[in-house]
């Protein structure tokens, strides 16, 4: 059973059920959220309240539920419901009345039972208030807090209406009604007057401490009081009347016998424009004499928006404008701004729009909230016009409106997908900040994936598109868009989702290799980087094989083969690798065949000579054999691997290693075996590497003329080198000799070289 309804500050309907369930519904009745505040009891009463944030000025709607067990449950913000318990109300028995005083800092319940009035602060200890009200009463039947939560009105069973501060420490006003019945309803008009409903409506202005006068207002039908920021709306079955304290600026102008300067200014403008008499000048002069023209203008500007009739608004504004003609320092800014505000106010007050806000309410809400309200009422066109008119930022205005409009369109199930998509696109275009994905998401949740696909096409952010494509199961589009974005992380995300659609990895790879080049490379990269154990490597190899990436597969196998411990295993794996080529890649096949042959050879060598050859390259093996003076073996292997005995490599290998092993006889024999293809300079060099000048000198005569100088330098025969350089008239070489000389011990040589140099330069 519903025990009550009410509105939140963002204009959602709150429905409170006896079970303790609270539902938040939109203006159109759609359920937005629901939560339950009571577990083991039922709700019997509730209060909805708004707390104003002193810093931002925004309102938060909360509510307190009274359960049948006399417990109070607090929900501070119904949009972020956290259920909090008030301390228990002392004593027992039904409460006569209660109300909530909520400020930024704390939330207090005032509760009355017969003679007692309790103050229960959330998180505090309940207190019985002992204030002598100075009147006779048995119980307080009604409690009502002003909009600002500063003042509280109490109605006693003896017909008194008392106004206290919110701490209930002071009685400010006292009023005695003619009747002793409890008021049906009480509401505050600002902090200035109280409307109380007995048999008729009583307007009680809060003047003196002891209020005697009141106005009685007659209604023929039942009425309800709605307390607002600066007034009370009285709703009857046929009317909606707003009671407000006349705002001060208006009073200053229009109050009978007002002596305010703005009143004079207004009179002046009336005299000038309408009566066309000289009084206008007198008024203006009197204002100027007081030096208060600016104040008068400002007050007129301030007064205008409080008028509801455009005619009067215009009159007051005209007065301010008239004043400005006499003001040398007039600034139009506040006037222009106010005109804009008034225009907006008038627009939203139009019966077709139906937002009759007062100026103060408008200011308190801020234009941005007003736009929100227009959006909820689906007055999109007006909202956009207002945004443009007020120059609001795109985030605050256009984007929000267009997005909401689109979301609304999406929910119109009677219009075709194509049509809606086209409409949305034509209206929203490429407005930056619009999220088509957001709209598409709504379409998906409304079960319109066809529309979602069309909308997603307009979305520029791939990172937004892709997850939705996945949600509606569109792999092609998801992959395509992800690839277009270039964001590999996104591509991986889609691919791993897509992979699950296949029974095994190879089917998946086959599929994407055909369709998506980049995706395929990426998946290969993934496997490449994440195949650590043997099983994963084998799987990866299978994929490579399937995709005809034989070379990479071979490499992968070779890498594993190189880690094997036994020669047998190695040979086996190289063989496996080789067979992958199916005799097509002759060169590579030969390389692998050579490797197998090498391993076999090395096995034999290890067996025969007890030396480790495993892991050595062919040349390293040969070098080692030569150094071990196993020249026949080396020769045999050379032939086996078809290395020509007149190849440069072979000669280098042999000369270098013979010299290294100091096999000088063998080296000499080798040098004479045939003409060296590498010349004889290396002989000298290698001998010198082994520090054997004697041997080096043997080969020097055979060194080609061009290389002799270098050889002499290498052999440290600097004197000979110098002579040679001089002979060839090569200054640079002479310089090299000088550079190589030790300045302390070879002074003579240096002098000689310098002399030669001098000679050569002079020539």
């Amino acid at each position: 059973m519903i025990i009550g309804i009410g509105w939140t500050s963002s204009e959602d309907l709150m429905v409170i059920f006896e079970s303790g369930e609270i539902q938040i519904r939109s203006l159109y009745g759609q359920l937005k959220s629901l939560f339950n505040v009571i577990k083991d009891s039922r709700a019997i009463d509730f209060q909805i309240f708004n707390t104003v944030n002193t810093y931002t000025g925004s309102y938060t709607t909360g509510c307190v539920i009274l359960s049948a067990k006399n417990k109070l449950v607090l929900v501070k913000d119904v949009y972020d419901p956290k259920i909090q318990q008030f301390p228990d109300i002392p004593g027992s028995g039904e409460l006569d009345s209660w109300c909530i005083i909520s400020t930024d800092k704390n939330c207090t319940v005032l509760a009355s039972r017969q003679n007692d009035l309790y103050q229960i602060v959330y998180g505090g200890v309940p207190q019985l208030l002992r204030l002598n009200f100075g009147v006779e009463y048995n119980s307080i039947k009604k409690l009502c807090v002003s909009f600002s939560h500063d003042l509280v009105a109490l109605n006693t069973d003896t017909g008194y209406l008392l106004v206290c501060n919110n701490e209930i420490t002071r009685i400010i006003h006292k009023y005695k009604a003619d009747t002793t019945e409890t008021a049906l309803d009480i509401a505050w008009i600002s902090n200035k007057a109280i409307l109380a409903l007995w048999d008729n409506l009583y307007l009680i202005p809060l003047g003196s401490d002891d209020i005697k006068n009141h106005f009685e207002i007659y209604y023929s039908s039942p009425c309800f009081l709605i307390q607002e920021l600066d007034g009370v709306r009285v709703v009857t079955s046929t009317s909606n009347i707003f009671y407000q304290v006349v705002p001060k600026p208006l009073r200053d102008i229009f109050e009978i016998a007002s002596i305010d300067v703005s009143s004079a200014l207004f009179e002046a403008s009336i005299a000038f424009y309408e009566n066309k008499n000289q009084k206008a000048e007198e008024y203006i002069r009197s204002i100027k004499e007081k030096g208060a023209l600016e104040d008068a203008i400002a007050n007129c500007i301030q007064a205008a928006p409080h008028e509801f009739e455009p005619k009067y608004q215009a009159e007051v504004l005209r007065a301010s404008l008239f004043g400005r003609y006499f003001d040398d320092y007039a600034n139009a800014a506040s006037y222009v701004k106010m005109c804009q505000t008034i225009r907006v106010l008038n627009a939203i007050r139009h019966p077709q729009i139906g937002l009759p806000l007062t100026y103060l309410e408008y200011e308190a809400l801020s234009p941005s909230v007003v736009i929100n309200r227009l959006i909820t009422r689906r007055h999109f066109a007006l909202a956009i016009e207002i945004c443009k008119y007020l120059n609001m930022t795109d985030e605050e205005g256009i984007i929000k409106i267009l997005s909401n409009w689109a979301l609304y369109k999406v929910s119109q199930t009677d219009v075709e997908d194509n049509q809606i998509a086209a409409m949305i696109k034509s209206k929203l275009g490429d407005t930056p900040g619009i999220s088509y994905a957001e709209i598409a998401r709504r379409a998906i949740s409304a079960g319109r994936s066809g529309l979602a696909i069309r909308l997603l096409d307009y979305e520029v952010k791939a990172s937004e598109q892709v997850p939705l494509y996945i949600e509606i199961d569109m792999p092609e589009l998801a992959i395509k868009k992800a690839m277009e974005s270039g964001d590999t992380d996104l591509i991986y995300m889609v691919l791993f989702w897509y992979k699950n659609k296949f029974n095994n990895v190879s089917d998946f790879m086959k599929d994407i290799s055909k369709k998506y080049h980049i995706a395929f490379s990426l998946m290969l990269q993934y496997f490449r980087q994440n195949s650590q154990d043997d099983k994963a490597i084998n799987e990866f190899n299978d994929i490579l094989n399937q995709q005809n990436l034989i070379n990479e597969q071979v490499c992968s196998i070779i890498n594993v083969a190189l880690k094997q411990q036994t020669a047998e295993k190695k040979k086996q794996m190289f063989d496996e690798a080789k067979r992958l080529y199916l005799n097509k890649e002759v060169f590579n096949t030969n390389l692998l065949n050579d490797e197998i042959k090498l391993i076999k050879t090395q096995e034999n060598l290890e067996r025969n000579y007890g030396k480790k050859f495993d892991g050595k390259s062919l040349y390293e093996t040969l070098g080692e054999l030569i150094r071990l003076k196993l020249l026949d073996e080396a020769e045999k292997i050379r032939k086996e691997f078809k290395i020509s005995d007149s190849s440069e490599s072979w000669w280098h290998l042999k000369v270098k290693n013979l010299a290294k092993a100091s096999c000088w006889d063998e080296l000499e024999k080798f040098s004479k075996s045939k003409k060296s293809p590498i010349g004889y300079e290396p002989f000298v060099n290698y001998c010198m590497d082994a520090n054997n000048v004697q041997e080096a000198k043997k080969y020097f005569p055979k060194v080609a003329a061009d290389n002799r100088f270098n050889c002499l330098i290498k052999m440290k025969c600097l004197a000979d080198a110098l002579d040679l350089a001089y002979q060839k008239k090569d200054i640079q070489q002479v310089n090299i000799v000088i550079g190589k000389c030790d300045p302390s011990s070879q002074k003579i040589l240096i002098d000689k070289a310098k002399m030669y140099r001098g000679e050569l330069i002079n020539k």
Partner: protein, 475 residues
């Protein structure tokens, strides 16, 4: 830069802004978490992040211990004693799956061992968090342990010097040109967007090569996705962006660098502007040599343009740095003499305040560079170096022809460093616009014979990425 107005050209791009921005981002991760912290690093990230904020700064933010994540394996997993009074554990990693397993392993063990203590776990991904990693963490059952503490810091372009940003990624070429992995394209574009958010939209983009095109497209796309944000309000400080694919010019990287900095890099390698010289190299020069009076104390030298001497000589040909070094030496000498002439206390104080500090800095710098130059000179004076250079120049001049180059072949049979050999072969290939099949095969066979089958993959990869290629048979 094409600007004509001088005020724009003086408005140089201040990379400090980027560094400061990165630093703030990075440190904010720690500042948000009160209490002592332990960091388990992916070792590869210590240096680049060290350039942003050093250990001292981290310590000020409560970082108590640092460990190498890769060492926290089975035998050396995070233990109770590592975690006394530590309330936050940070893992700073690249988004690699194997690291996720390591992290999970550690997290689970800590949670098991320290049931009653509340430790917060964080992962800081560099440069970005990936869905794959998230999925992996979920699969390993630790995703929940991190609550919402998975963050990323977009450190992809690392400011190395006042005019240089680098990704310092040695994998990039391989992944991109061999495996067509476009991840980097996205990351580079993203980094360039970061740059543009700090320095304004770059109005002109020029480029050469397939991947440059992709990056440019990606940048344009990202700009579109961003819409008109506040970025447009920043006056562009960068006029032109020039993108070039590395494989447009495969000759330059194969050549031996001959500038001072280049030679240092060739011989010792410069990493994140740091040079580490093996100690034995420093001790070598003879003691009576005048240039080497003071031995270098540290073997790590920071090489960037904050060192004014280095800034002056870094890009000079190695043979042309001597005049600068000796001039600097003379200047220092003068300052020194000046000091000796000072008499009054006030003069001395002036000297100490003004000159002494820079004098000290300059002196250290000069000493360092003289030592380095000495070592390098030794190497460049060698016959091997000379011969290598000669061969390189011959090849570059197109004298290599269609035959195997005998220096290359000889180097192989002599067992020279394979990368030296490979560079020459690649140069030969690039200049020839590809090898004839027989020549390519000769080189390949020789490499396998000299260095072993383990280089089969290297050769294969180089061929596949077109560094080594065959000539197109035009007829």
């Amino acid at each position: 830069m094409t600007t004509t107005s001088s005020h724009l050209s003086s408005d140089r791009v201040n990379l400090l802004d980027l560094k400061e921005w990165l630093r703030r981002e990075f440190l904010s991760f720690f500042e948000d978490c009160p209490g002592k912290k332990l960091i388990a690093w992916d070792k590869q990230l210590t240096q680049p992040l060290g350039l942003i904020a050093d250990y001292r700064v981290l310590k000020e933010r409560g970082v108590d211990k640092m460990m190498d994540l890769r060492e926290l394996t089975d035998t050396r997993i995070l233990k109770k004693e590592d975690l006394s009074d530590v309330s936050h554990i940070f893992f700073i990693v690249k988004p690699k799956l194997e690291l996720m397993s390591l992290i999970a392993h550690n997290v689970l063990s800590v949670e098991k061992e320290l049931k009653n203590e509340i430790k917060e776990f964080h992962i800081l991904f560099v440069p970005r968090m990936t869905h794959l990693c998230e999925k992996k963490l979920t699969d390993l059952g630790v995703y929940g342990s991190f609550k919402k503490n998975l963050k990323e810091i977009f450190l992809d372009l690392i400011p190395l010097d006042n005019d240089l940003l680098s990704m310092e990624n040695s994998q990039l070429f391989k992944d991109l040109f061999l495996y067509n992995d476009p991840t980097y394209i996205y990351n580079i574009a993203k980094s360039l967007m970061t740059i543009q958010s700090l320095y304004g939209i770059i109005p002109n983009i020029y480029g050469k090569g397939k991947y440059s095109r992709m990056i440019a497209d990606q940048i344009l796309r990202m700009r579109r996705e961003m819409g008109h944000n506040q970025e447009t309000q920043i006056t562009p400080k960068i006029d032109n962006l020039i993108l070039i694919d590395r494989n447009i010019d495969l000759i330059t990287p194969m050549m031996i660098q001959l500038t001072y900095e280049g030679l240092i890099d060739e011989n010792f390698g410069i990493k994140y502007t740091q040079l580490e010289i093996p100690q034995e190299k420093i001790k070598k020069p003879n003691q009576d040599d005048k240039l080497n009076v003071v031995e270098m104390k540290k073997s790590i030298v920071i090489l960037n343009s904050s060192d004014s001497l280095f800034a002056e000589i870094r890009d000079r040909n190695f043979n042309a740095i001597n005049p600068v070094l000796s001039r600097t030496a003379k200047e220092l000498q003068q300052t020194n003499e000046e000091k000796n002439r000072l008499q009054s206390v006030s003069q001395l104080r002036m000297f100490v305040e003004k000159t002494l500090k820079t004098y000290q800095v300059k002196k250290t710098s000069l000493e360092n560079h003289m030592t380095i130059a000495e070592i390098i000179k030794e190497l460049t004076m060698s016959d091997e170096f000379f011969e290598k250079l000669l061969t390189q120049n011959d090849l570059l001049a197109g004298l290599g022809g269609e035959k195997p180059n005998s220096y290359i072949i000889n180097s192989m049979s002599r067992g020279e460093d394979i990368y030296t050999v490979m560079r020459l072969i690649c140069l030969h290939c690039a200049v020839n616009n590809g090898f004839k099949t027989s020549l390519l095969e000769t080189y390949k066979r020789e490499i396998i014979r000299a260095y072993g089958i383990k280089y089969f993959e290297l050769l294969n990869n180089m061929e596949k990425s077109n560094i080594l290629n065959q000539q197109y048979q035009s007829f």
